[in-house]
């Protein structure tokens, strides 16, 4: 695995930790926006309707009222707000404001006033009359014969896109064939920071946008096109961001706020309410999936087919790309593989990117099917999976690139060690009253987009005192990429971490980056930073040689050796930079690197869950979750553990009770706040145990792969597999609160103490 690292593979607190701990760091809503007007976007209360009339006359009388922006005042252009780079699967169907709302998040009117309070008052007084239509909320309704097409310009039916991927023969299914149906709900990201933006387009020529964004360069591109500007005239800045998880991988209301700013000639600020956060941003796609798995009696997998229906909401945005993303993340050797995926338009909440990007849903069904198959064959579920798992040099089904690193066996072994220790300490009870059981699930993902469209660049500037400043376009949304990239820079340059400063995600000051999604920061941007730093080192060496033309300069880990005759001089990197900077033949050292992802190596996770079921009371309680992960070299152990623990928590919520709940009477969701939609709290979490395997990814920066998304993917199926074993059920539907009384982890027997 090479030489020991100086900066990498250590547990290092985030660079900005103390600014966050003291409340000093500024999120978008904390910025002093120099006289910004307050804005509110009025949205449709109906899932499907047509606007008949908008009357702002009463709103205009509210003291402090500044203006309304109506659908007729904005460019009538269809666009796709996805933060992905341009691609065939991105279809244009969204509008800045609309008179034909297709779900309850659709923007109808924007109102602005001097203060938040005046704006609320004015917004209440805007009267909008609607003609209400019956919405198509479910897959069944939307796919019914003769159902009204929601985006007729894209497709005559609501099946807007099909993704078909296959290899092998549909007739070779093996000796044992099992089939199952799986149903997953739509889930909200619930970042604790609400979506917001401040737009300054006062002069109508130059637009500056501060917003919580994962993909500043894509957003700049789309907004430039929408407003007829050059990208040079638009600046997107990402201040500190309070979580993303995919929710900010698309434009939200920046275009309408920009236009409002132009109309008023002053900056405008919009902060979403928590209700808007739930109903008007994005959700993980709800799916209905049919899976068939075939194996021979010796336990060798032969066949897997998935019929994958995704409820993408009324706009395509990420939908078809997510369905495509689900299709190539099968980590088992399966000679006959068939994926048939459909993106279905509905009037439900709009779907979008969410940690796992389609993989979460398919892995859920797949890992439950593998458990059923193991049981059918009388095999241990862990052994069964390992027996069929791809190895280095082999391929995932329907994927060209071979696996370049895989420590799944170590993950399994180390997870098992913890499991054994837990059962020794706490026993594994299985009697009439209390039935405890373990469930297991594996997961993989990518490191960067599986389409290999990830592109990152970095600039490293060496100051004359030998400290370094890096510029990258990628956005730290709370996952810690700025710290991680600074560590890669320090390690590659041979500097200490405290000598590195980073500037990220400001389109005026930093170079292009595809964006923060697809678990790409460590692998794609990390490679760009490593390239830039190597470039800087090479330039430094070259210039150093020019300062001592008669001597021989050799590069060492921590600096340079200058040999001239029997004179030898060692220079640290800092000393070398200083010498070059001020030398007559010297210069400024600027390294740059651009990395177009040539691969998307998969990280692997083994997840185990221990649950307790009480038949008499029909209760389920989570006791333990273990995750053992192969992420290649962990750049920052503290961050990797944090990603695993956070991923587990989101998986726990997904498994137990998180769901955007559709209400038949209201014909829309009732999940509008943090009481109607439940996110796990500290005392609800089972005991979690995370392990990082020893691994090295040859194509990664210093051997690293991704961790962000894969962390959450196996959690729900591991929990459901455990519950199925404990309760003797064959459940394939989330969330589990539909079937069991969920007890918080901390629930005690008897009266509360």
């Amino acid at each position: 695995m090479g030489k020991p690292f100086q900066v990498l593979n250590h547990a290092i607190p985030r660079l900005e930790s103390m600014e966050k701990a003291t409340g000093k760091i500024a999120y978008t809503a904390d910025l002093d926006a120099h006289g910004a007007a307050a804005a509110i976007v009025l949205r449709s209360p109906h899932s499907c309707a047509r606007v008949l009339q908008i009357d702002c006359s009463e709103a205009e009388k509210v003291p402090g009222f500044l203006g309304c922006l109506l659908p007729c005042e904005v460019p009538d252009i269809l666009y796709n707000p996805s933060g992905n780079p341009p691609a065939e699967l991105l279809l244009a169907d969204a509008r800045i404001l609309t008179e034909n709302p297709r779900y309850i998040g659709d923007r109808i009117v924007c109102v602005a006033a001097e203060t938040d309070e005046a704006c609320r008052m004015a917004a209440q007084k805007v009267k909008i009359r609607y003609e209400v239509h019956a919405p198509l909320l479910t897959l069944k309704d939307a796919m019914a014969e003769g159902a009204r097409p929601i985006q007729p310009h894209l497709s005559a039916s609501n099946i807007v896109k099909r993704r078909n991927v296959s290899q092998g023969s549909p007739d070779q299914k093996g000796e044992v064939l099992l089939s199952g149906h799986f149903s997953t709900p739509s889930m909200q990201h619930v970042p604790i920071e609400p979506t917001c933006c401040i737009c300054d387009f006062s002069d109508g020529k130059n637009l500056t946008v501060y917003s919580n964004s994962q993909t500043v360069f894509q957003e700049r591109r789309i907004v430039s096109e929408l407003l007829g500007l050059k990208e040079n005239d638009v600046r997107f800045i990402k201040p500190a961001v309070g979580g993303g998880f995919g929710a900010r991988q698309q434009l939200h209301s920046q275009p309408v706020i920009a236009l409002m700013s132009k109309k008023l000639g002053r900056p405008v600020r919009l902060v979403y309410t928590r209700e808007e956060e739930f109903t008007a941003t994005a959700v993980r796609l709800g799916t209905e999936i049919d899976i068939e798995v075939g194996a021979n009696r010796d336990g060798v997998l032969q066949y897997l087919s998935a019929y994958y229906l995704a409820n993408i909401g009324p706009y395509t945005i990420h939908g078809p790309t997510i369905v495509a993303g689900a299709s190539r993340k099968i980590q088992y050797r399966i000679p006959n593989y068939f994926f048939d995926g459909y993106s279905i338009l509905t009037n439900d909440i709009c779907g979008g990117a969410f940690r796992g990007y389609g993989n979460t849903q398919l892995t859920f069904g797949r890992e439950i099917m593998l458990d059923r198959m193991a049981q059918k064959l009388g095999m241990d579920p862990l052994e069964f999976r390992l027996k069929n798992h791809v190895k280095v040099g082999e391929h995932f089904p329907c994927v060209d690139a071979p696996v370049t690193s895989c420590a799944i066996e170590e993950c399994a072994r180390r997870a098992m060690e913890i499991r054994t220790r837990i059962d020794v300490e706490e026993h594994l009870t299985f009697d009439e009253e209390v039935r405890q059981a373990w469930g297991v699930a594996f997961a993989c993902h990518g490191s960067g987009p599986s389409s290999r469209e990830g592109l990152s660049s970095a600039i490293v500037m060496l100051n004359d005192d030998g400290t370094a400043r890096i510029l990258v376009g990628s956005a730290d949304i709370g996952q810690g990429s700025e710290t991680m990239l600074s560590q890669i820079a320090a390690e590659t340059l041979g500097l200490s971490l405290s000598d590195v400063r980073i500037k990220a995600a400001d389109t005026l000051l930093t170079p292009y980056d595809t964006g923060t999604f697809a678990s790409s920061q460590t692998f794609v941007c990390g490679n760009a930073v490593a390239l830039a730093c190597r470039d800087a080192r090479a330039k430094l060496l070259k210039q150093l040689m020019e300062t001592v033309p008669e001597a021989v300069v050799t590069e060492e880990d921590d600096g340079f050796l200058i040999s001239s005759g029997d004179k030898r001089e060692h220079l640290s990197v800092q000393q070398a930079v200083r010498r070059v900077a001020f030398h007559q033949h010297g210069g400024v050292i600027i390294g740059c690197g651009s990395y177009k992802a040539q691969a998307s190596p998969s990280p692997f996770v083994v997840c185990m869950a221990k649950v307790e079921y009480r038949p008499k009371l029909n209760t389920v309680r989570l006791l333990h979750i273990i995750e053992a992960a192969d992420v290649g070299t962990p750049i920052n152990r503290l961050s990797v553990e944090g990603q695993l623990e956070g991923g587990i928590a989101q998986g726990v919520g997904y498994a137990l009770f998180e769901r955007m709940e559709r209400n038949p009477r209201a014909q829309k969701t009732v999940s509008t706040d943090l009481l109607h939609y439940r996110v796990p709290q500290a005392a609800d979490m089972p005991k979690t145990h995370v392990v990082i395997a020893d691994s090295y990814e040859p194509t990664g920066p210093h051997g690293a792969k991704s961790v962000g998304e894969v962390a959450t993917v196996p959690v729900a199926p591991a929990i459901v597999n455990a519950v199925n074993r404990a309760a003797g059920t064959e459940i394939g539907t989330l969330p589990l609160c539909d079937r069991f009384v969920i007890l918080p982890h901390s629930a005690e027997r008897g009266p509360l103490s």
């Binding site: 209700e275 709290q681 005392a683 609160c737 918080p744 009266p751």
Partner: protein, 319 residues
């Protein structure tokens, strides 16, 4: 206007007042525009309403006593454990630190169609609670079917608490059950008929020596959530057992049949079956977030958590 009277006599002088404790129940209602924020009279600066003290054969708890204080009061912990446990189970630590006893008892009944923003509600006709004439939960119901989710009420009722309140110019004292009944009824049409009552204190007689009591709340999460069901139970030697259940109907339910079985020393399984049967008869379930009617019925068995209180109780043969 908000008012902060420092004496009861001052407080009773405001016309058409909305009385408030910590205001934690009201604030979201104001923000959702289901209640108008006007003429709010805070009772938190009236010293005698904040007291928790011995009085006569029992205790007096002021309506402005803070839930966190009730939960930690030695007096309450020692003599009325179910109440301390209930106060400790309300909402979140942050809310218990400012919410009051009176506010908790007089809280609005809740429902997924009512506890929504004005914008969300605008696609449906107004319901009974918001000035209309329909219940979206049970469209043919002549009254509002929202549930009453107080944890504290369930515990107070198990101790047969009395309420003291100011109404129409005079101080009254009545069984808390009657006050809650009136509150819940009026609250079903809260925009039209608001109960103009200022609750001042709660009284409870000390339970007989050796009686055991406790409270259990089921919520899917440890904190913040309203109960999906709650129970308070007392059982012991010298008076009959009592079992109360909340969050199952528009007001708390007294489960008399189940309590009688407890007095007769029935086996756990029989009690669970009786409790489930009794709640099936009395409960008035509605659509709630994240829980189906079938799971709500499963929750009727959660009374199991309180049955260990019986361990020291005498068996029927001894009676």
């Amino acid at each position: 206007m908000n008012h902060f009277p420092s004496s009861l006599s001052q407080a009773t002088e405001y016309r058409d007042a909305i009385f408030a404790g910590g205001c934690t129940d009201l604030m979201p209602l104001f923000k959702n525009q289901v209640r108008d924020h006007r003429n709010l009279v805070f009772l938190t600066q009236i010293p005698e309403l904040r007291e928790i003290r011995r009085e006569g054969p029992g205790v007096s708890i002021g309506a402005s006593a803070i839930l966190a204080d009730v939960a930690e009061s030695e007096l309450i912990l020692n003599h009325f454990p179910a109440l301390a446990q209930a106060a400790n189970a309300v909402a979140s630590p942050q809310i218990r630190n400012i919410a009051t006893m009176g506010g908790n008892i007089m809280q609005d009944r809740r429902c997924i169609y009512f506890n929504q923003s004005a914008g969300w509600r605008s696609s449906l006709p107004p319901c009974f609670k918001t000035g209309g004439d329909v219940c979206h939960q049970i469209p043919n119901s002549p009254v509002c079917r929202a549930l009453y989710y107080s944890d504290v009420a369930t515990a107070l009722l198990v101790y047969d608490a009395q309420a003291e309140y100011w109404e129409k110019g005079a101080l009254h004292c009545a069984p808390l059950r009657e006050l809650i009944h009136r509150h819940c009824e009026a609250n079903g049409t809260a925009c039209r008929n608001r109960l103009n009552i200022l609750v001042t204190r709660f009284f409870m007689d000390s339970p007989p020596k050796g009686e055991r009591s406790g409270f259990y709340k089921y919520a899917m999460r440890t904190s913040i959530d309203f109960p999906l069901i709650n129970f308070a139970l007392r059982c012991g030697r010298s008076r009959s057992a009592k079992l109360v259940s909340g969050a199952a109907a528009p007001e708390p339910l007294i489960l008399e049949h189940t309590a009688a079985l407890l007095d007769h020393g029935a086996a756990d399984d029989d009690i669970l079956a009786a409790c489930q049967a009794e709640l099936k008869t009395l409960a008035m379930p509605i659509r709630e977030a994240c829980i189906s009617p079938a799971r709500k019925r499963d929750l009727y068995l959660q009374v199991f958590s309180l049955l260990s209180l019986r361990e020291d109780c005498p068996k029927s043969t001894e009676l």
